[in-house]
Symmetry: C2
Subunit: 489 residues, 2 copies
C-alpha cells in the first residue's frame, strides 16, 4: 500500500512509514510500543556505536532497579515536580483468583507499605546508591551508564517520539569539583552531537536550555536540537549539569584530598529510542525509509532478474562471489534470490526499508558484464561494470552517508531565519516552518507569552551564537543574543 | 576483609564474595539488586556471546512492552496459575502533592481501568502480538528474542540467584509444525549447554523436567542443570516446547501451504543473570572469584614492584610493550602502576576479582629478563623468561579455561551417586551432597512425597540416560530409568 505523501499529511506519512517498514507498532497496552525486529536492528546499531563511545570516554555500564520507592522522588524538590505527575505506580504484589471465577483480581492483602514508582529516570535511585559508593576523592570521578527501559505516563503518544515506555541510556556521573562536572556535561554533549552527525547523518545545534525547559533537578541542561522535514524541531539528546542538587538530597559527601568533606558534583545525560523517530523524520521520503549506510542493518541488496532456471543459476554463481568480496570489505550484503516475490515487489520493499544500495542483475547484464546500481537516497540508477563493484560500492556508501547529511544540513540552513519582529517570527512559525533566530529578553515570562501566542518554544540558546545586542521581538526589552525558536515534537 | 570460608559458611561466603568483588549489592528496594560495574561487565560478556549464538541460529531481536494487561494472564489457564501469584501490579498512573505537604501520594483519580502487570515473562504479550504478525505459512518460522528485565515477587531473595527484578533474554518462536517446534526447543537447549560448558566452564546435564517442575503453560520443559560446590543443584537455563497452548489462548492460526488453517506451534527459552550466581558458586574459592578467561573482563594484569622511581620507569617501558603485544593477540590486559596501593594489596584485590593471570615484575626480574606469573585457578606461581610472554600467555589462558571446566566436571562426577534405596538416597541428600541418580515410579505423588521427606526434587530426567528397569526407591513400583535428584537453589 502506498504511503501518504509528506506534502499532504506529514503525520499520517510518518505513522504509516513506521508501520509499513516494520519498525514498530502500537501494543495492546496504551502508549507502549512493540519495537519490531527490523526497527530493533537499527536501534542495536545505534546502541553499539554509542556504547563504544561511552567506553572510550572512560564510562562503565551498570544496572540499577526498575522500581523507585515513592519517598525517594520527594527528596529533590524540583525533581518531584517534574516527574511525579506522570508515573506508573505499583501498589500491590500479588493477584488472586476472582471468587466468581472470572479471572484474576488484585489481592487486597498484598498491598505494599510504600508504593513503588516505575523509574521515569534514575537520578534518585542511583544517588541513593552513590552514597555508599563514594567516601573519598579516590572514589571520584564515578562514570557510570545504564541501558534501560523507563516509563513516563504520556497522554498523547506517538511511535518512537513519545511513548509511555521507551528504551534509553542514562549516564550518571559524580565528580570532585564543579569544573570537572561541567567538563563532563559538555563532553557528553559533544559525544551525542558527533554521533548524531556522523552516524545518523543528522545535523544538530548544540545549545543550552532556558530555565523553563531545564531538566527537573538540574542547574543547567545542554541539548542537541535537530530540524525535521516538516519544519518542526526535535530534541535529540540532553546532558545535564546537576550541580550538588542530588548530592545534597541524598547526602553524598566525599573526603577531600586536602581534608574536609564536600558534597559531590553530578551530571546525567541520555538519548533514547526517540532517536529512531529523528532518523525517520529527518531523511525519509514518500517511497519510505532512507537509512544512512552507517546505521543500515543491510547496506546492499542484490536482486536477480531472470526467467529461466539456468539464468538464475548463472546469476547465483556470480552474485555469491560479490557477496563474499563485499563482506570481506566489512559491508553487510543480502542476496535475495527468494522466488516467493517478484523483482518489482522486492524493489519497492527494499525502498520502503531504506536499504542504501540495490544491485539488480539480469541475463543481459550477465552478457555485458554489468549490473544496475540504484542508490536509495537520490533514487538514481546507473549501469556499471560488475568487475568494479568491490571498488565502487564502498565509495558509494560513503558518498550516500555524506549526501544524506548534506541534504539535511542544506534543508536546515534554508529553514533557519533571522527574524527581527513578532510579525516575521509568526511568518516563520505559522507558514514557512523551521528555526527562528530571534532576540529575547531573557525572562521566563516573555518565553511563556510567546509560547501561548504562537506555540513556539525556545529550543536552546545556541552555544556557538555570537553575542549581538538587540531588542526582544516580544517585549522590546534589550537582548544580548539571538536564541533558537521553533515548534517542537 | 577476609571472606568467610566455604567449608564453614557457604552461604555467607557467597554473599560476601558478591559484595567484596564488586559484583552486585542489594538496593533500597526490597529484593531488587544493583548490578555493579564489575559484575555488569561479566554479564555483558555473557550477553555478547549468547547474542552471537542466537543470531547464528537465525534469531532476531525485538522489544515488547514491560506491562501486561491483567486479563492477558488469564488467557492460558496453567500460565496464570504459575505466574499471577507473584506479580508487581500497577494500579495508578499519577502521584500528587500530599495536602499536608509531607511529600507525594497516589492520586486516587488516576486509577487504571484495568491493572497492568509488570512482566514476569512475556509469552502472553508476545503471542497477542504474533496474532497480527502471522497469517500464512510464509510468515513462519518466526524466530524472535528479547533482552529485557522481568519482575517476580519473590519472598526470599538472594543476589543473582533469586531477585525480584532480574535481567534475562527470552526467545519466543512460532512454527508451522510440531516437529519443527520440538527441533527448535532442543536446538536452543544445545546452544545453552554449549555456552555453559565452553564459556562459563560449567558442565551441565541436559534433561527434561517432570510435570511438577514444568513451565506454566508448556507441554515440555527442557533444562540444563549444574552442580554447585556445596552439592546443591542450580537450573542454569530452560527451553520450553509450548505445543499450541499459547496459539490457542491468543487465537494464532496460519494458512497452510496445502490449504486450511492451523494453530501455530510455539517455543520459549531463557537464561538470566542467575548465570552470574552459577558462575560464582561453581568455580570460586576462599580467596574470591575464579573467572574462566573467556568471561574475564580483564584476563591479565601486570603489577610492577619497585622502590625507586627509576626502577618503575624501566618497568613501565617493558610492560607497555608487553601490553601492546598481548592486546594484538586479542587478550585484555591491564597494567596497574597506580601508586595509591601496594603490590600486596593489588595481589589480594585481583585474586578477589578473579583475574585469571597476574604478572609481577620487579628490579631483579628486570636484571634476569624474567617475570613471575601467578595463575588464579591453581594459585601456582612460576618464573618465566619475559621474552616468552606472548607465546605463553595465550596458551596459559586456554589451559586455565580447560582446567576450570575439568575441575568442575571432576567434582560433579565425584558427587553423582547411583542410589538404590531411600536410605542411600538420604545419605547423599543429607550428608554427602550432590546428585542422586535414582529410580522413580513416574508419578507426581511420589515426587512430592520424596520432596516433603527430604527437600530433594527431581532436577531432570537426563536426556542421555540409558533405559534401565528398576524399582522406585520410595514406592517400590517399577521404573524405566533413573532420574536426577538433588537439593536445589
Amino acid at each position: 500500500m502506498a504511503l501518504p505523501k509528506r506534502s499532504e499529511d506529514y503525520s499520517a506519512w510518518y505513522n504509516e512509514l513506521v508501520k509499513q517498514a516494520d519498525l514498530a507498532e502500537n501494543s495492546s497496552v496504551r502508549g507502549c510500543m512493540v519495537i519490531k525486529p527490523y526497527g530493533y536492528s537499527i536501534w542495536e546499531k545505534m546502541q553499539a556505536d554509542l556504547d563504544r563511545r561511552f567506553k572510550e570516554t572512560g564510562h562503565v555500564n551498570a544496572y540499577f532497579p526498575l522500581f523507585i520507592p515513592k519517598s525517594f522522588l520527594s527528596k529533590e524538590a524540583q525533581h518531584v515536580e517534574g516527574f511525579a505527575k506522570e508515573c506508573a505506580v505499583v501498589t500491590h504484589y500479588r493477584l488472586k483468583n476472582a471468587e466468581d471465577g472470572s479471572g484474576v483480581v488484585v489481592d487486597p492483602a498484598a498491598k505494599l507499605e510504600e508504593e513503588l514508582i516505575v523509574r521515569p529516570t534514575s537520578e534518585t535511585v542511583i544517588w541513593s546508591t552513590y552514597k555508599n559508593w563514594i567516601q573519598s576523592y579516590r572514589d571520584l570521578p564515578l562514570l557510570v551508564n545504564q541501558w534501560a527501559n523507563v516509563v513516563r505516563w504520556e497522554m498523547r503518544t506517538r511511535l518512537f517520539l513519545r511513548t509511555t515506555e521507551f528504551l534509553w541510556q542514562e549516564g550518571h556521573t559524580a565528580h570532585a569539583t564543579k569544573q570537572e562536572a561541567i567538563v563532563e556535561t559538555e563532553l557528553m554533549l559533544d559525544v551525542y552531537a558527533d554521533f548524531a552527525e556522523n552516524i545518523l547523518a543528522l545535523p544538530v545545534i548544540k545549545g543550552i536550555k532556558t530555565a523553563n525547559e531545564r531538566f527537573a533537578g538540574a542547574e543547567e541542561t545542554y541539548c542537541i536540537e535537530a530540524l525535521m522535514q516538516d519544519g518542526k524541531a526535535l530534541q535529540a539528546g540532553t546532558s545535564h549539569f546537576l550541580g550538588q542538587n542530588f548530592a545534597k538530597a541524598f547526602e553524598v559527601k566525599y573526603a577531600k584530598k586536602e581534608g574536609g568533606l564536600e558534597y559531590v558534583w553530578g551530571t546525567s545525560w541520555g538519548v533514547s529510542t526517540r532517536l529512531m523517530g529523528a532518523l525517520i523524520m529527518a531523511h525519509s521520503d514518500d517511497q519510505g525509509l532512507v537509512l544512512p549506510p552507517r546505521l543500515a542493518p543491510i547496506q546492499v541488496v542484490i536482486v536477480p532478474i531472470y526467467k529461466k532456471e539456468e539464468e538464475l543459476e548463472a546469476i547465483n554463481e556470480k552474485a555469491l562471489v560479490w557477496v563474499k568480496e563485499l563482506r570481506a570489505k566489512g559491508i553487510t550484503v543480502k542476496y535475495d534470490n527468494d522466488d516467493k516475490y517478484t523483482p518489482g515487489y522486492k524493489f519497492a520493499d527494499y525502498e520502503l526499508r531504506g536499504i542504501p544500495v540495490r544491485i539488480a542483475i539480469g541475463p543481459r547484464d550477465m552478457q555485458n558484464g554489468t549490473v544496475e546500481i540504484a542508490r536509495r537516497d537520490t533514487r538514481e540508477k546507473s549501469t556499471v561494470e560488475s568487475g568494479q563493484l568491490t571498488v565502487l560500492i564502498p565509495q558509494l556508501l560513503e558518498e550516500i552517508q555524506q549526501n544524506i547529511y548534506n541534504k539535511a544540513l542544506k534543508f536546515r540552513e534554508e529553514s533557519t531565519y533571522k527574524v527581527n519582529s513578532l510579525q516575521e517570527f509568526k511568518e516563520v512559525i505559522d507558514q514557512k516552518g523551521g528555526f527562528a533566530l530571534a532576540h529575547w529578553d531573557g525572562t521566563s515570562e516573555t518565553e511563556e507569552k510567546i509560547k501561548a501566542e504562537t506555540k513556539a518554544t525556545i529550543r536552546c540558546i545556541p552555544m556557538d551564537s555570537v553575542l549581538e545586542t538587540g531588542v526582544c521581538i516580544f517585549s522590546g526589552k534589550p537582548s544580548k543574543q539571538r536564541v533558537l525558536f521553533a515548534l517542537a515534537y
